[in-house]
Structure formats: C-alpha cells, structure tokens
C-alpha cells in the first residue's frame, strides 16, 4: 500500500485531433483521467465499447501516433528506481522499457503472430531485441517457458496456422511475458475465445502475475472476467473515470448509476427476470454532453447534472466516484455535521 504506484496517470487528456479541408475535429477520447496502479495488483479497466478504453491503454503504454495527441496531464512509470515519463520516451528508452519491464498481451491472437515465421523465430526476434542472446539460448529458454504453459517444444518449429486458437493464445501470452515484465497490459485477452479457453487464459494470467510478482492491467468490457481476476476496477464512461473501487465494492455497492447498470446487466443463477438494459449508447466524443456526460441516459439525472461536471470524490476505503448524487451527499454531510455536533 505504501509503495509508490508503478503506474500513475495524472489528469490525462488525450484527443484525436484531425484536420481536413480546414475543418478541425477533436475527439476527446480520454478526458481528464487520473489513476494510480500499485505494484503487484491486478487492476481492471471496464466500460462499454467507445468509452475510451483502448485510447487510455495506448496512452498508458506510451504507444500513440497522430492523430492521437496527449493534450494535458502525464503518465509515469516507477519501477523502484525513479520515475519515467511514459509519454515522452526516446526510441532507445522505448526499447529499454518494453518487454523487459512493460509488456502487452494483445486482443485476439489469431493474427498477432507473423504467419510466415516459425514460432521459434518470432520468439527470437522479440527476445533478442531486448536481451542479446544467441539462437540456441533463446530456444532453450523459450522451450522451458513454454513447458510451464503446457506446450511442447515442437511448437517452436511450427507456423502459427498449425496451432489451435487456444495454443496460439498461450503462445502469445508466453511471448509477451517471457522476459518477466513488471507491468503487463492485457487488452481484451479473453474476447473472441470460447469459454473453456477463456478459463484457461484467465488462470494463466493469474499464475504469471503471481509467479513473477508483476502488475497486471486488465482491459475488458467483460465484467465476468473482471470479477474473476481484478483486485480493483476502474469504470470508464465517455472518456472519463466515473468510479473506481476494489472489486468487491464495485460489485456489491456500486455508487455511480452507470456502474450500477453495468453490474445490473449481469445475469445471476437465481433470478429468472429479464435483465434491464440501459437505453441509448455512449455519446459521440467529438461533442460530448455538457455537465455529467452520463446525464442523457441517467435515470436519476437532475438539473445540476446538465451543466456542472461532477468531480471525482473519494469515499471511504479509497472508493472514488463522480456523480452529483454522491457530491450532494458529502456536501450535505459536511454542511450538517457541525450543526449536529
């Protein structure tokens, strides 16, 4: 708890700025997100499609190119030897940071492996970029590592199309984690996999995180996977962080109406009632609603929600939420408590 965060974003704003025929268009995909990820935890980032998850991930990785532009704020890594700015790394710093410290498990492994290269060659490409190593050494190391994943050495000589979907996903995870990175980003690692393979992948990620003592940042819209893996969950809506708490609190006592709907949409074994879905869709981010961005869809929307952006307030136990219902409550409590005393 007292360790400095391994990854910290401060008031991060990242916009897609495009200009065509003199018309400037700004899409505010990430708009003022602050979060701090502690070493060794599994931090989930949730939210529906189009809420800025992928953009936030690109910024946290420091892997962005125009039109995506960091406008304000900062992202810093701290691997126990001082802070690094993740948004302004030189090519050499990127090479030094990636894979040995910060790694990335991509979404869907169908096409992330070069189809014309043997698995062993791909491993050698990735490893030798970061650690000078002979072909023999990488082969030995990779074979040993793959064995932990239940993959035979023969996989090294195979081409990607010769492997099943589940094997390919395991190979990809192995490729991303072989250098024992301290910080792993997993982008929808279970999406597009069947449930049996999903379960294997979840267990694998959990084991790697435990064995290497790494920090895992899990980006997925799938609240079931979040519940299974994450220690803490942040909920994004329309480019803003609307709620963040430990997993139990998010599921048992969500405060933000959006989170409540997200949780409420999950089926449970007992009840047989149709799930209530939230009408509407996330707003277009080139012209987000004024005030609270959720107000057009919010069943509890008040006048104040249409004009004033609710601040992210910290509740007990580090639980953070941004909603006028809560702001009102804390204001009220603050205003009334002296009178009671």
């Amino acid at each position: 708890m007292d360790q400095p965060p391994i990854l910290e974003a401060r008031d991060l704003k990242a916009y897609y700025i495009t200009e065509a025929f003199g018309v400037r268009r700004t899409v505010k995909a990430v708009d003022g997100v602050s979060l701090a990820i502690r070493p060794g935890e599994i931090y989930g980032i949730a939210g529906e499609s189009g809420c800025g998850k992928s953009t936030l991930l690109k910024m946290l990785l420091g892997e962005f190119e125009p039109p995506l532009t960091p406008v304000e704020g900062s992202v810093t890594y701290d691997f126990g030897e001082g802070q690094h700015d993740a948004l302004d790394m030189s090519e050499g710093e990127v090479t030094a940071t990636r894979w040995s410290r910060v790694s990335y498990v991509p979404q869907g492994s169908m096409h992330v492996l070069n189809p014309v290269r043997r698995i062993g060659d791909t491993f050698h490409d990735f490893i030798s970029t970061h650690q000078p190593m002979s072909r023999r050494q990488t082969n030995e190391r990779v074979a040993a590592y793959l064995a932990e994943f239940g993959l035979r050495e023969g996989v090294l000589r195979a081409f990607p199309h010769q492997l099943s979907g589940g094997m390919r996903q395991r190979v990809t995870i192995a490729l991303a984690t072989i250098l024992s990175p301290k910080l792993i980003f997993a982008d929808e690692p279970t999406t597009a996999l069947d449930v049996v393979v999903q379960r294997g992948v979840i267990q694998l990620l959990k084991r790697i995180q435990r064995d290497h003592g790494s920090t895992l940042v899990l980006i997925t819209h799938d609240m079931g996977v979040q519940a299974n893996l994450a220690d803490r969950i942040a909920v994004l809506y329309a480019g803003k962080l609307v709620e963040e708490a430990d997993t139990r609190t998010i599921f048992k006592a969500p405060r933000h109406p959006y989170t409540q709907h997200l949780i409420g949409s999950l089926p449970t074994l007992e009840d047989k009632v149709a799930r209530v879905s939230l009408p509407g869709r996330p707003p277009a981010l080139d012209d987000p609603p004024s005030g609270c961005r959720f107000h057009p869809r919010c069943p509890y929307a008040m006048e104040v929600c249409k004009t004033i952006v609710p601040p992210l307030v910290t509740l007990e136990g580090g639980h953070r939420a941004a909603c006028h219902l809560i702001t009102g409550e804390t204001d009220h409590a603050a205003a009334t408590s002296p009178a009671l005393a």
């Binding site: 892997e63 990127v94 991509p106 492996l113 014309v116 970029t129």
Partner: protein, 332 residues
C-alpha cells in the same frame, strides 16, 4: 510423399497438358490460315527467274517435305511432334538454310541477359522502395518517390525509350546507338565491359517503367501490412524497424509479387520487341520482328513454341516454390 502426390504431381500433369495444347494450337493455327507458305516461298523464288515445270514441281515437293506439309493433317501432326521433341524446328525461310534452332540459340542469350537482369533489378528495387514507402508513408522521401514514380508510370514505354535514346546517344552522345557488344566474344574485360556499356540504355529504359509498376504494387501491399496485427504487435515490442520492414512487411507481401516476377521472367522468351528494335539490340524480339516482316513461319512458330514452354515452365516452377515462400501452402 503426400506433398508429391497432392501438390507436385497434379502440377506436373497440368504443365504437360498446357504444353500439349499450346504446341497443338501452334501446329493448327498456321494450317488454318488462308496463306500458303509454299506458294509464298515459290513466289519469292520464281519472282525474278523462270523455272521449268519439272523443277517447279520438284521444288514444291522438297519445300513440302522441308516444311512438314506432306501427307494428311494427322501424319503432319505426328511428324511435327517428332520434330519438336528432337528440337528440330526446321530451317528459317528468310535465312535459309540456317535452322531456326540455331538462330534462336544465338539471339536468346542477348534477350535473357538484357531482360533477365533488368527484370530482376526492377523487381527488387520496386519491391524494397515500395515497401519502405508503404511502411513510412509520412516521410518526405516516401512522398517524393511516390510522386515521381506515379508520374513516370503512365508514360508509354516507347516514349521513354526514345527520350533516353535521343538524350544519351544524340544530344549527349555517351552511349552507343545500336548493337549489343564490341570486340571478340570472350572473358576479357573489354568484351564484358562493352556488354554493360551497350546494354545500359536498353536496360535502363526497361527498369524505369518496371520499377514504377512494382513500386506502386509493393507500396499498396505494404500499406495494408503496416496496419496488420502482427506488425502492430512487433512495433509495440519495439522490434527494430529494419527487421519489421524486411521480415514482417516485405516477407508477407512476397507471394503475389513472386508470382509476378516469375511470369515476367517467363515473358522474356517473347523477347522485348520495342526495346530491341529501338536500341537495335540483337535479341529475340528483333528476330521475331524480322520473321514477321519476312513471313518466316518456321521462325515465328519456333519463338511461339519457346514462349509457350517458357511460360508454362515458369508457372510450374513458381507453383513448386510456393511452399518455400508461404508455409500455409505446405499443408493444404
């Protein structure tokens, strides 16, 4: 073994069938033409002298024998195959009694040298430049390259050839106007350097257009590869750009481009008509043009047969090489 049975064998059969049909058509088409080569040859021979009727008949008979026009269509066909398989394509009509095989044999090396080299150079250059420009579309050099080559590409080939010819043999007489070499053939420095000196302009004219075409193809293919998942993943893993361009981008754009390379190498056997005529280069194209002008049927047929066999064989070779280039073909 299954590789042979399921992949190689059907392609060998296909190769045999294509050549069989091609050779048969080459046999049939001139025989369906209303022009009788014997009458033409007789006309040429008797234009300036009169022959006795016996001599005319004897001459006609020996020409029929010589050109394989004796007997029924079927026996002609069987004889024709026999001669093709022996490599005997008969005498050239216009350069009688030199055989077609001999004449093609001396012209073909010029064409293979000129076209083979310029095709390979243009292909490699276009492939690499195109892939670099496709992978780095925002760099200034990539834009300069693209604009230049896209402007050059639509210019008709003969205009490019004539411009080069005028510029470098007339206004700036650096290169020779006609010919293929100078001095006695042999492994001497002066002979070999004259080959390069005489071949430079025709080769350059071919390389310019072919490079522009290959560049456009390669750039488009590399542009799609650039956004593919495996290239993005390799970039996030900070692999060196050089490795990404060559082993990830180019390697994946190779398959259609290798097909193109093989087909254009096969087309060498048709000769480069315009190039060889414009630059007076003694290759197959020049030979073909002369044969057409002189109604030299045997020669035309000889060059046609050569190109049929050449293209069919090249296609067979590409098919056989696919498994080496694309591992996905191996286990169909």
């Amino acid at each position: 073994m299954t590789l042979f049975k399921e992949y190689i064998f059907p392609r060998l059969i296909q190769w045999v069938i294509v050549i069989f049909i091609g050779v048969s058509l080459t046999f049939l088409i001139p025989r369906m033409s209303p022009i009788n080569p014997i009458d033409q040859a007789m006309g040429r021979l008797t234009a300036f002298q009169t022959l006795s009727p016996e001599a005319t008949l004897a001459l006609r008979q020996s020409l029929m024998d010589l050109y394989g026009l004796d007997g029924s269509l079927f026996s002609q066909y069987v004889n024709f195959w026999g001669r093709v398989l022996r490599g005997d394509l008969g005498p050239s009509f216009s350069a009688f009694p030199t055989t077609v095989t001999e004449m093609i044999g001396s012209a073909i090396w010029w064409t293979i040298g000129l076209l083979g080299l310029s095709t390979v150079i243009a292909w490699t250059l276009g492939l690499v430049l195109g892939a670099l420009a496709g992978y780095f579309p925002d760099r200034w050099w990539s834009k300069v390259l693209e604009n230049t080559l896209v402007s050059i590409y639509p210019i008709p080939y003969y205009i490019v050839a004539f411009i080069l010819l005028m510029l470098f043999t007339y206004y700036l007489p650096i290169f020779p106007l006609v010919g293929g070499s100078r001095g006695a053939p042999g492994f001497s420095w002066s002979y070999l350097s004259s080959l390069v000196y005489y071949g430079f302009l025709p080769a350059l004219s071919l390389v310019i257009g072919a490079t522009a075409f290959r560049f456009i193809m390669s750039k488009a293919l590399a542009g799609t590869e650039r956004t593919s998942d495996y290239v993005r993943f390799a970039e996030i893993a900070a692999l060196p750009k050089r490795k990404i361009v060559f082993r990830y981008v180019i390697r994946n754009t190779m398959l259609p481009q290798v097909t193109d390379l093989a087909l254009s190498l096969a087309a060498i056997f048709e000769g480069a008509l315009i190039t060889e005529v414009v630059f007076g280069y003694p290759g197959l194209g020049y030979l073909l043009l002369n044969a057409i002008n002189a109604s030299d049927y045997n020669m035309i047929m000889g060059i046609t047969l050569l190109s049929i066999v050449g293209i069919a064989t090249a296609s067979l070779l590409i098919d056989l090489c696919y498994p080496l280039i694309d591992p996905r073909v191996r286990y169909r």
